[in-house]
């Protein structure tokens, strides 16, 4: 045990990651509290504003993210089985899916901004209070989720590098395993964001 060995404590590292995810649950939890309160105050406005969302793009994005999770899971199993080539391919696919998600998200944001709907915009400030809050929450929650996706993409890129250089191996796969946990968690957050913003019409 000790310092050097502690580093190789795979289970310790996994626990650490889970604890971090608990933190993330409460971090997003803070936003969900806000959402819940404002939705209970302004149900009609939330209902109406959700209709403005682009359901098609939202659904595609959900599918993209779920698929990326599949790729990530496969990539990890591949490392554990020693098929590094396969793993790298699937990691790259995960990254592509992540980037696709961000691109589609950008299109959605762009659509709204083009219509003048963004925080503090003259158009938005003239709307009803519940609608201002809905779109404020929309930007903040999807924005912070997007930042998480982006961080995930960066981390997975490092994992690709580590797998190629033999830093992540069949015996020592903590890093990629924990990356996977993070990626799946980000996916779960989206699973909840999707109905809350697109499906409450």
């Amino acid at each position: 045990m000790g310092a050097a060995e502690g580093q190789r404590d795979r289970i310790g590292a996994k626990y650490g990651m889970w604890f971090f995810l608990f933190t993330e649950i409460l971090f997003f939890g803070g936003m969900f509290i806000l959402y819940a309160v404002y939705r209970s105050k302004y149900p009609a406005e939330f209902h109406a504003s959700a209709g403005e969302e682009n359901l098609l793009l939202g659904s595609i994005n959900t599918a993209v993210l779920l698929t990326s999770s599949l790729f990530m899971a496969v990539a990890i199993s591949a490392v554990k089985k020693g098929s590094y080539r396969l793993s790298v391919v699937f990691q790259a696919a995960t990254i592509l899916m992540g980037l696709a998600f961000l691109a589609i998200k950008a299109v959605e944001w762009y659509e709204k901004v083009a219509r003048g709907i963004y925080p503090n915009s003259p158009v938005l400030d003239k709307m009803k209070m519940g609608e201002i809050l809905f779109f404020g929450l929309y930007y903040v929650m999807t924005g912070i989720h997007g930042v998480h996706v982006f961080i995930g993409v960066c981390v997975i890129s490092f994992m690709v590098y580590f797998t190629l250089t033999g830093n992540v191996t069949q015996e020592n796969y903590s890093k990629i395993e924990n990356t996977g946990l993070y990626w799946h968690f980000v996916d779960i957050v989206w699973i909840y964001l999707f109905p809350l913003f697109y499906l409450i019409t």
């Binding site: 819940a36 779920l66 999770s69 799946h184 699973i191």
Partner: protein
Amino acid sequence: MVRDAVEREDHIGSYGTYILIWAALMVLLAVTIIVAKVEVSKYSVLLNLFIATVKAGLVLFFFMHLKYERGFLKGLLLMVLLILASVIGLTFSDVWYR
């Protein structure tokens, strides 16, 4: 350490299971969109949240291997979710009765 003996042999998920889970997730995605569009009842929002929870459960238990973890970790996760739920509940004890 002895107490980790069980965990030493880590679970390796099979590709087949993963693909099945993925397929289930896709089906649930379709269902949830349909539920929302058809507006079967005014409870469709709750139903959608329920479906989301099932999806999240699938990801948690299979993709994140929670199914193969010790009860300890599952218990902790449950505790965290309960705390979040209680915080929301206490906040609403203000919001609803104000």
